[in-house]
Amino acid sequence: MKEETIDLKYGKLHIIKTSKFRTISVKVILKDKFKKENITKNNFLTDYLTMSTKKYPTRRQLALKTGELYSLYIGAYTKRRGNFLLTCFNLSFLDPKYTEEGMLEESFELLHEVIFNPNVKNMSFDATVCNIVYEYLKNEVKTLKEDSKIYANTEMFKIMGEGKPYSYHGYGYLDDLETITPKNIYEYYKGLLKTSDVDIYVVGNVKSSEIKEIVNKKLNFKTLKKDKGDINLPEEKPTKKIKEIIEDSSFSQSKLAIGCKFYGLTEKERKYVLNIYNLIFGGEFNSLLMTEIREKNSLAYYISSSINKPDNTMLIQSGISYKNYKKVVKLVKEIMKKMTKEEISDELLEGARIEYLSLLTEIDDNIDDILEYYYLKNLMNLDELEQRIKEIKTITKKDIIEISKKVYIDTVYLLKGVSNEKN
């Protein structure tokens, strides 16, 4: 499988040909610099565009159309990665071989409709539809607190991030939502189309020439390529004192969210050692966190770690009983400290290495994983597959000790539950 990259006036078209699947996947990504107030606007916009277009002004009409196109899937969402705010449109449909001729073009036509032909009247989005989107997003923001795990994680990042991009969650904010009007969101939409970098990915059993022609016809963006800077946030110097916050709640279980920062990583550590470190520490069932907290001490049903490279952060999360809070935090700290001093076992290192390589191998089995692989590779400037396999094989136990010294706990947040049973 190879990626063919074609320069367009407004960005890049990436075609990945494979005959392994019965579907074709397309992703359009608009890349812009991150601003907090744009999270909510972008959420609003992606909801609006997939709810109401000129030709299909209601969701039902759009659904009737996607059904006609043999259950075509079209969706849009917003995601922050490092310094960027991405607006993504996903399209997936059956290879016309299984449906009928002309479906390739018709499917792209619907993508065109959603991106370029929203329901606009008098230089403004439709007020009724805007109201539906508003009500929907308002509820989504309001109910954020109902999921104790999500709430604990977002609160922790808010405290740790102090106004930096990663301190904001992606669900949107009421104060920003209140400022949106049918007119200014339409202006925002036009601006977004003008200023974003555009990448288009097409994966499946396709002909390049055909795709180029269709993309030229159906996805004619008018933006100009501009440098958007680096995706990575600057590293932050560690502070000596760990922030600790305990908040009361009426949930039964307490939710623990520990925020960590990385500082002083080398390029190799950032690109490779970090992945292996995370798998060993808390990234899988067999990790040190799971073994110590769950299997040996029966303190939790789940505990895991996850890393965010562009943000230089790591999240450790678990659901525990309040009475075990101090013990769990102490154990987590002990594991982290031990990793800076003692070599981990061969089995753990080899297990993590082979897990990483298996994940790379499995990408080929799922069309959306293939798309995601190329999109992340280009966005985050990752190495080619062969290079990755080579590099991962060189990682040693010493590398794990070294990187462990560059991980710092910054914030310990507990959403305190009320359960107090005597187990």
């Binding site: 392994k20 019965r22 709810m51 209601t58 969701r59 039902r60 659904a63 009737l64 059904g67 006609e68 043999y70 259950s71 059956l94 299984y98 449906t99 109201n131 539906i132 009500e135 929907y136 509820n139 989504e140 109910t143 607190k145 109902e146 104790s148 009426s250 949930f251 039964s252 279980q253 899988e284 069932f285 067999n286 799971m290 073994t291 769950r294 299997e295 029966s298 303190l299 939790a300 049903y301 659901g319 009983s321 089995e347 297990g351 082979i354 897990e355 990483y356 390589l357 298996s358 994940l359 191998t361 499995e362 080929d364 089995d365 799922n366 069309i367 539950g417 359960s419 049973e421 187990n423």
Partner: protein, 425 residues
């Protein structure tokens, strides 16, 4: 070993049964690198009571789920997660009301891992100590679900719908019931429900069916089980009406949540297969409440609900249609649902539209090893056989039969559970 073609789509399924009753289904994919295997038994949280030739047994609620956790304990102290991770393979398990499944997935060393997979599930090792130790973990799991309004709605609704069926209780049980479980209980249910004659394996992906067949026919532990054990799942009688039509509770939430369910007995449809009933109900709810329904349009336009989910479930002799919604205007939403359920009649155009979407989904599904294996697994759990011609079955659904079915369908047994925000002090 026999071979069948799946959905006329260039995909084969092989299957065979061992002398001891163990069933095996193999789905070799041409273009995949991964493999995915499920080992299942038709033993779930509802099987708390059962009969065998030694008598009648009653065990604590939550024991099937507890057993699923404890299967991972090994006598030599080896952790299956650690074993599989040596070759980058993952494992997990889950328990539902009527079955328990164990699965592995990965890309490397299939023979070694499959051998071990069968070994560890077929070698129980329960001690007083390892049973006690598991309880803390399971208590945290139970609490985690109790904090979720969606799970609470689900738990409360089953209590509303059923008088006697054991699905009234949670899959994981309660902390009180789980605290009673002993190693003797675990061995008892294990010996009754984890006999190969009660179990089956579905494996798909990058596999050679003949090599896997050889491996299974030669697997020592698996083939050491001989006689088929007679164990009877205990049946309870259940009235057709709902036990309770309404329940209201309060949680610390911002937007009210509702669960609206309809209890449907299979009694009216003795002339139909389960798969027919299931497909007809599927068409009906998709027509009434799906993305292209007039109901959904109204809900969207009037902002009646911010989250709306639709499900069809099957419990014993019953189907349920379950609507979950989040709504500030629950009263209006419920009225709309009630109205939608009056005088249902599907026309040809709607039916063909839904069929087209379903067929497309079937074709899509076969692109994924996981989904294909999962679907075949579900077929065996639900129907005791594989439907290898689903696309054809969908094509054959005909308007007359559907409307005949709808006429006989009794949708009057309904129940509502609401979770409201706590009063602000």
């Amino acid at each position: 070993m026999k071979k069948i073609n799946y959905n006329n789509l260039d995909q084969d399924i092989y299957y065979f049964t061992l002398k001891n009753g163990f069933r095996v289904y193999l789905i070799p994919f041409k273009d995949k690198k991964n493999y995915y295997a499920i080992l299942g038994t038709k033993y779930g949280s509802i099987d708390v009571e059962f009969d065998n030739n030694e008598g009648h047994f009653k065990t604590p609620y939550g024991i099937a789920h507890f057993l699923e956790h404890k299967i991972f304990a090994e006598e030599n102290g080896e952790d299956p997660f650690a074993f599989f991770s040596k070759s980058g393979v993952n494992t997990n398990a889950s328990t539902t009301f009527d079955n328990t499944r164990y699965y592995i997935w990965g890309v490397n060393e299939i023979e070694k891992n499959l051998n071990y997979f069968l070994d560890f599930i077929l070698s129980p090792y329960f001690t007083d100590q390892n049973v006690e130790k598991e309880k803390g973990i399971i208590y945290e799991e139970i609490k985690m679900y109790d904090d979720s309004p969606e799970w609470v709605l689900d738990d409360e609704m089953r209590k509303n719908l059923f008088y006697n069926l054991p699905v009234r209780e949670k899959i994981a049980g309660s902390i009180e019931e789980v605290s009673k479980i002993t190693k003797e209980d675990l061995y008892n249910v294990y010996n009754n429900f984890y006999h190969p004659s009660e179990m089956f394996l579905v494996i798909g992906g990058n596999i050679n069916p003949y090599e896997i067949e050889k491996l299974i026919r030669n697997h020592k532990k698996l083939n050491s089980f001989n006689s088929k054990k007679e164990v009877k799942h205990f049946k309870v009688s259940e009235p057709n009406d709902v036990k309770s039509e309404y329940k209201e509770l309060h949680m610390d939430i911002k937007v009210p949540k509702i669960r609206y369910s309809i209890k449907i007995s299979k009694d009216n449809f003795k002339d139909l297969n389960d798969i027919d009933i299931s497909m007809y109900l599927g068409i009906m709810i998709s027509y009434l409440f799906g993305q292209t329904s007039e109901f959904k349009e109204k809900v969207t336009l009037q902002s009646l609900s911010s989250g709306f989910f639709l499900e069809k479930n099957s419990y014993d002799n019953f189907y349920t249609i379950d609507i979950t919604a989040e709504s500030d205007k629950a009263d209006i939403l419920i009225e709309e649902i009630n109205k939608t359920l009056e005088n249902i009649k599907i026309n040809k155009k709607d039916l063909e539209r839904i069929k087209k979407v379903w067929i497309a989904s079937e074709i899509r599904m076969i692109d994924s090893v996981e989904m294909t294996v999962d679907n075949i697994y579900s077929d065996i759990i639900s129907y005791d056989k594989i439907y290898d011609n689903r696309i054809e079955l969908i094509r054959q659904i005909d308007l007359k039969n559907i409307n005949k079915f709808l006429k006989k369908l009794d949708l009057t047994n309904r129940s509502l559970v609401m979770i409201l925000p706590k009063e602000e002090n």
